[in-house]
């Protein structure tokens, strides 16, 4: 089961909707092993997999820090280190995709905005 989740997290390194993408880019750019990345984020190596499967917070939105705090608290990760890694990884992703936000990311964020708007109207599923 753990292997299936790890394989899925690896697959998601190409999908900016998930944290696996910016964290993977950050890890590669810094030349970090799994152990070194865990040390940088001040968490256990086992915690990396569920963190990678989380939704990536949008760096330009007000909710960025709230989302980072929530992920950090849930999986015992250092919030500041995670925020720095995610920001750097997302910047690398934007640069790699020609300085523009990818259609996937835009679509994902559009969906988020709609959900936030729904929430503000007090709607629920």
């Amino acid at each position: 089961m753990q292997n299936h989740l790890e394989n899925m997290a690896r697959r998601l390194e190409a999908d900016p909707f998930f944290l696996a993408c910016p964290l993977g880019l950050y890890q590669k750019s810094e030349g970090l092993s799994e152990e070194a990345l865990a040390a940088r984020l001040q968490c256990s190596r086992e915690a990396l997999m569920p963190v990678r499967l989380c939704r990536a917070p949008a760096c330009e939105e007000e909710s960025f820090h709230d989302d980072i705090e929530r992920i950090a608290a849930r999986f015992s990760v250092n919030a500041d280190a995670l925020a720095e890694a995610v920001r750097q990884g997302q910047a690398l992703f934007h640069m790699a995709s020609g300085g523009k936000r990818s259609a996937t990311l835009l679509a994902a964020r559009d969906g988020d905005s709609e959900r936030v708007a729904d929430q503000r109207k007090g709607e629920s599923p």
């Binding site: 089961m1 299936h4 989740l5 394989n7 899925m8 697959r11 998601l12 999908d15 909707f17 998930f18 944290l19 569920p50 963190v51 499967l53 989380c54 939704r55 990536a56 917070p57 909710s63 989302d67 929530r70 992920i71 849930r74 999986f75 994902a108 969906g111 988020d112 959900r115 936030v116 929430q119 629920s124 599923p125």
Partner: protein
């Protein structure tokens, strides 16, 4: 939240998880995967025994990714989240298999066509090296449909299939393979044609993917 991979969450837990996805909780996709991935893979592999495990895993992942990105596609009033994910994963698997079968069908058709073109009408090979190359390609493409085609065939029918795949065209050779050389030529031709037609229909049916998984 019950996160044991072997058991499914209660109705209240799955509703709570869906609500978190809908509200954009960044940790919800991770919980969704941890809760349902193992269950979906197990369910798909047990129901689709003819499919390879990799296809089942990809379909299970696709179903979870779709829901994580578009939680509004699930209507909690219609069915349980587990049932919805199983249905979605089965649909993803079916689509992937159809796409793969179309690819194989094209390869079979192209290879057989090339093989026919490369041989002259007398059955002599014009370019032995090219013929061999095309025969290998045909055999490779046919490898995916052969188990289904061969199912239930008699031994003589299998010999006819082998002859077709090697590009044989002579009725006398087919008649010998069927053990009907003693019959009048007219009857031999009729019997050979009947068996060849039967085999061609089987090949077409298997290559087009009519025999789908459940």
């Amino acid at each position: 939240m019950n996160e044991s991979p072997g058991s499914l969450p209660s109705r209240d837990d799955e509703l709570a998880l869906h609500r978190r996805l809908f509200k954009g909780d960044p940790t919800a996709p991770s919980d969704l995967a941890a809760t349902y991935l193992g269950h979906l893979i197990g369910w798909l592999t047990s129901r689709n025994r003819r499919c390879d495990e990799h296809s089942c895993i990809t379909a299970a992942e696709d179903a979870l990714l779709s829901l994580a990105k578009q939680p509004q596609t699930y209507d909690p009033t219609r069915q349980s989240l587990a049932a919805y994910l199983r249905m979605s994963a089965q649909g993803d698997l079916r689509n992937a298999l159809r796409s793969e079968q179309r690819h194989h069908q094209n390869r079979v058709a192209e290879s057989v066509e090339q093989l026919t073109l490369a041989r002259n009408k007398d059955g002599r090979d014009d370019h032995p090296a090219r013929i061999l190359e095309i025969e290998e390609e045909t055999a490779k493409a046919m490898g995916h449909v052969l188990p289904g085609v061969c199912e239930g065939l008699s031994e003589p029918e299998r010999r006819v299939l082998d002859l077709i795949l090697t590009g044989q065209r002579k009725t006398a050779v087919f008649a010998e393979a069927l053990g009907i050389s003693h019959l009048p030529v007219h009857d031999q031709r009729a019997d050979v044609k009947r068996v060849k037609d039967k085999l061609k229909k089987r090949i077409e049916r298997e290559a087009s993917g009519d025999a789908e998984p459940s």
